[in-house]
């Protein structure tokens, strides 16, 4: 899956689901924390989160829909 290799998804259980959205983020269900490339842990505070895959989000690791403002080839 083309998920940003800088993010590490961790959970107390094994039941983590990753759903990539075409031209969009990857949805993550069941995670407790997301660790970014600097090793900073971001707590997951909602039932399902969207991780940035375009690299342009201003709220990384979370998606902020900026991908929609990037012209598609």
């Amino acid at each position: 899956m083309n998920i940003d290799p800088d993010f590490k998804v961790s959970s107390r259980n094994d039941d983590v689901e990753l759903v990539p959205c075409p031209d969009g983020p990857v949805l993550v269900r069941g995670a407790d924390t997301i660790r970014d490339s600097e090793g900073v842990d971001h707590a997951v505070t909602r039932p399902v989160v969207a991780l940035c895959r375009c690299g342009k989000s201003s709220r990384k690791p979370w998606c902020d829909s900026t991908h929609k403002a990037i012209p598609k080839d």
Binding site: C21, P25, R46, V49, A50, S58, W62, C63, D64, S65
Partner: protein, 343 residues
């Protein structure tokens, strides 16, 4: 909440009948509505939109000094039906061409809905708030939005018991997040109430109903009409999908504008929450809810796009109206909101 102030003969007659069934004259009201039909624009008709809003509100929290039984009074429902026909017909007429074009687009249903939302031409209140709105104009924006955001997601919740399987699970997942994911302070309608209070505005449900223009009522009435009619469920979900898909990027602009003006933190924080939450919700709404419902058949597919079109169209109508007022130095409310922001 008290009944609002009447805005014409229709609402004056209706409210009398809502307070006291002995005073209800449905045949007179129905005839008055029929006489409005030729030449009236229901979307900007204050009297008509206020009547619809009050009749729908009977299904939410009702009014002080109004019998709760009014919710299912068959005569009131008969009046509502005539108003709704007028409103729904006009919404279908105004969106017919854009709906047909969006359905004929390329790709799967979610792709076409995203493309529809992204390409719909509308002036941007978010850009105006980000760059140039005054404190007073942002207060007016919050007042207009309060009519929906103080019952945020409630009109969409009507759809849950009517769904099955994947779309039901997906909608319930979004609902849980909208309703705070187990934390009352994160309930979106509560976060909006906190934002109003922090800005020195009144957070009581329905307080500002007398100040908002007909078009703001129309935005809410469309959601209520779609939500309350099982027949219109695909439109309710298409509306929900378009609402989520046009929220995340504008919310960032709203938050930035509010920080530019130095509004208290709960106001931009409400919009920050929607940048993140709606980036998730739009994916679930269009891919799992709307696409699932549209797969039921051509009529459902059509009404999913119809609902989306109504969300986008009414959004553009209110944006055009508000921006026109603000750019000409006028209030976008029927009378200025009480209270000023604490900047």
């Amino acid at each position: 909440m008290e009944l609002p102030q009447a805005r014409g003969p229709l609402s004056a007659g209706l409210f009398g009948g809502v307070r006291d069934p002995e005073q209800l004259h449905p045949d007179v009201l129905v005839e008055q509505v029929r006489q409005l039909l030729p030449g009236s624009d229901p979307l900007t008709h204050d009297d008509l939109q206020l009547c619809l809003w009050v009749l729908y509100e009977l299904h939410y929290r009702g009014f002080a000094r109004v019998d709760d039984a009014a919710e299912w009074d068959p005569e009131l429902l008969r009046v509502r039906r005539v108003l709704e026909h007028f409103f729904e017909d006009e919404l279908r007429r105004r969106t017919r061409e854009t709906v047909a074009a969006a359905i004929a687009g390329e790709g799967d249903v979610a792709t076409r809905l995203f493309a529809f939302c992204e390409s719909f031409a509308s002036p941007s209140v978010a850009q105006f708030v980000q760059r140039e709105a005054t404190l007073e104009q942002v207060n007016e924006f919050l007042v207009q939005r309060s009519i929906y955001h103080l019952k945020e997601f409630d009109p969409t919740s009507w759809s849950i018991p009517r769904l099955t399987g994947g779309p039901k699970v997906a909608l319930a997942e979004v609902q849980y997040d909208e309703y705070g994911a187990g934390r009352p302070e994160r309930l979106h309608s509560q976060m909006f109430a906190d934002a109003l209070e922090a800005c020195g505005l009144d957070s009581r449900y329905g307080t500002y109903i007398d100040q908002v223009p007909a078009t703001t009522l129309a935005v809410n009435n469309a959601m209520n009409m779609f939500g309350l009619h099982r027949r219109l469920q695909p439109a309710a979900l298409g509306h929900f999908g378009a609402f989520e898909a046009t929220s995340s990027l504008p919310s960032r602009r709203f938050a930035a504008g509010m920080r530019r003006l130095g509004l208290p933190e709960p106001a931009p924080a409400y919009f920050d929450e929607h940048v993140e939450a709606d980036a998730v919700h739009e994916q679930i709404a269009l891919r799992d809810v709307c696409a699932g419902v549209a797969a039921e058949g051509p009529a459902a597919l059509h009404d999913v796009f119809f609902g989306a079109a109504v969300c986008l169209y009414l959004g553009s109508v209110t944006a055009t109206e508000s921006l026109d007022c603000w750019r000409h130095g006028r209030s976008a409310l029927r009378q200025p909101a009480d209270g000023a922001a604490v900047a």
